[in-house]
Symmetry: C3
Subunit: 350 residues, 3 copies
């Protein structure tokens, strides 16, 4: 199926330079695009590649357009944020190519009589929905998912197959939850007593805002007494662990394998690289960016990029530097002693 | 529903100072508690906050009682371990507020005729139970869980929805397993042969003791030839990986995202911070405490706290220190050379 | 059930020294083997233990046979790769002891009319199979698994219970996928736009080759526009995250908790220790070996072993060395200054 480029630009904005009647079938990377594809230029390093693309249409900024218009002969769409334009175009084509899910409850689903499910929503095979759960309009609950007693799900929210959403939790509108995610398991709380652990009952909830995305096999624990909160627009990748009582501020994004320990309060518009870890009871300001593999062991009050991982080396070289790391305080003492001796020698010379 | 504080103290122990007829509805944090709540003081830093709490009852130690009794006017419960008392009180209220699960097997569950399920246990919707499995009394098997051929589950054990418990494994009494956990998958064992991997059949089991708790999406692999063993009272948080043939000693606790490689033997009463990693074939003594984000690359025979993570810094500062780390053996050589030169200079002066 | 050792050697190769009529019941470790077991010697450190084993048969190399034939009196099987021989023998006994799964579709499975399932394959209870899926011969699809629209599964592939295999993905022959694995969830792609994240539709697939093994709760995301590719013979342990557009080269093996960020291209015959992390858009050559807990932050073009983790220490010692790490660039400057001063002093003396 083909779409007239002019219609798409009318819908998504941007300035079209060239033939508005170009018929496009979808989006593609710079090097794979054909005369029927839209591609985009966002990274300045790819200007040469963009100038040579065979794409029928190229989305780019005004300044990049000036720089490469000599080379590229196709239709241009000029916009301030080419990547976002491209993302919206990709969403358009993906929605067009996806068969809509029919509303209704699959006969194999086990739904408690007191659960309220909007008639425009779809509940897949082998789903269990417990008493008092409320599911808003146009939701899709994938096969084999579990929705616990008294939990609430906002409109247009999508659960992929095999999501576990436990009792009394709340999730907003337009949320996407991927397969294997577990939301609302008990937080990890124990009181030590004579060598044994006494469980702290976890009676808080998980509350998740609108427009959140939660990756495959990610876990978000319910609060101990208060709630664990994921604010609107947060994006969590796969295999992430959010412990009890955390607050993740709006529009923060975390890559795969990140862990956040209990009661950490993370600001808005933060980003966390893969496998970054945050210790418990810390506060992290808005607009903090933590590099992959870094452990945040203290609160951060200033925006900026933070890093802490041991640099990779050939194993033989690492063996040598790691041996020195183990002795670094001794080396500092040796440098201090040298400074003292050199000062004395210098003094004798003057 | 209200509970008479005097009755609770009679049940849980402790010395009540004040009105035993105080009616309480639950537990709450220091700053959120009302006149109908019990709260507790355990962390000395919170004494001022405790003195000002509006809680109806405060659980605390005798020494803290002396220090803050001027400020706090409610009922006091004096006990040697306020946090453990509070934990038990929270369990009391949580149990009171939780509707008991009715025994019986949901009609949608698929249970093999040879499986033995105690009549006081509950099997939820869409559970599969294979041949020869044995489930003790008062267990709850949550919706969509899988229990493999010949596996055994002790009394009062709770599986949350969507637990996978594979064939021939054993689990004790009063164990809690959270959603998404996979117990008894194959260990990761291969023999290299001319650039290919030959699978080592994993024919051991997983054996789990009493009073263990296993977090959401945690995985515990079966042994290769022998068994993987989780001793009694062990507490595992979410997203933990325990490889084949490991032994985790009694009452050891591990926070989220910890990984333990194959055949590691971990002592009793240890603790592991989040994302700590233990290499294979190591032995770790009792009462060892490993900090978050630390990799244990050798056996540990002495109790104590162990740490090994790169300190976090602003990215620009990390860039500078990481560049030096890569050259640390050179720097050590330069310091040695300086020491030699300074010794020579000093000698000439004497 | 007993097997004649001579028959086994005839099937698996190797030179038998001793009684071919020895009847064996299985394989066992050196220290647990009885007169009815086969054991093996591969690690030279275990020669003394091997010489003393009570195993009925010992698999070993010709050179080890010469070294320990004085001590060990049982039957020997001489082969160039004792561990691989042992692995194949273990597979033989495991297959003999495992009841074969009967072909057919369990009545509780929900299978779309347009799905094609070979009649020699088995589909377990509570499985969902969507439209257009194709399952080859002799497959086993474990209870509660999900197979999405249009996905394809090769012959003799085994899904343990509760695997999620999403739409349009492909998997080869003789693949083993463990419980909780999620294959084909959306990659993590967003365009930033005025403080919000615009989702990049993930329209690529996951393509998995023959003879791959995928561990419990491991996640492999579908590509954004192109595909995520796992080549033949790759072995992935539990809790691994493979992001969108990655290519994992043939026969590469990754231990538990490894993470690979988007668009990384990893060579053939590589190995990754537990919790190793690879940043996005990197290339890693064939035969690269990354140690546990190491973060790969740049491309690697040379084969070899690479490492980068902070060495573990007693916490008090780590506190001291970490304090110096934070000041390492200052220390380098101090060493440079000392070198200058010492050169000046030396010059004055000459």
């Amino acid at each position: 199926m083909r779409t007239r480029l002019g219609d798409l630009v009318e819908s998504l904005g941007g300035e079209l330079i060239g033939d508005p009647d170009l018929a496009v079938i979808g989006v593609a990377p710079l090097d794979a695009a054909t005369a029927s594809h839209i591609t985009f230029l966002s990274n300045p390093k790819l200007r040469t590649q963009a100038a040579a693309t065979r794409a029928g249409a190229l989305v780019l900024s005004a300044s990049d357009h000036q720089l490469i218009s000599q080379g590229y002969r196709g239709v241009c769409v000029i916009t301030t944020n080419p990547y976002a334009w491209f993302a919206r175009a990709a969403q358009f084509f993906a929605a067009r190519d996806t068969e809509p899910v029919a509303p209704g409850i699959h006969p194999s689903a086990i739904v408690h009589a007191s659960a309220q499910i909007d008639s425009a929503s779809s509940v897949g095979p082998q789903v269990t929905i417990e008493a008092g759960a409320v599911i808003g309009e146009h939701c899709v609950i994938g096969a084999g998912s579990f929705i616990g007693r008294g939990s609430r799900i906002g409109a247009y929210t999508l659960f992929y197959p095999r999501v576990t959403f436990l009792s009394a939790c709340e999730i907003g509108a337009r949320v996407i939850v991927h397969s294997g995610a577990v939301i609302g398991a008990d937080g990890f709380g124990f009181a030590a007593d004579q060598g044994h652990w006494i469980k702290i009952s976890q009676t808080g909830r998980v509350r998740i805002g609108d427009d959140v995305e939660i990756g495959a096999n990610t876990t978000i624990d319910r609060g101990a007494l208060e709630d664990t909160v994921i604010e609107e627009g947060v994006k969590l990748d796969n295999q992430i662990q959010i412990a009890h009582n955390c607050v993740i501020g709006a529009h923060t994004a975390m890559a795969g394998c990140v862990g956040v320990a209990g009661s950490a309060k993370i600001g808005r518009h933060c980003t966390f690289g893969g496998a970054a870890m945050v210790l418990g009871h810390l506060s992290i300001a808005d607009h903090v960016h933590v590099s992959s593999g870094s452990l945040v062991s203290r609160s951060i009050s200033e925006p900026g990029q933070y890093t802490g991982f041991y640099p990779l080396a050939r194993n033989a070289d690492w063996e040598k530097t790691a041996a020195v790391v183990r002795q670094l305080d001794t080396m500092r003492d040796r440098v201090r002693e040298l400074e003292k001796l050199v000062r004395q020698l210098t003094a004798k010379h003057e």
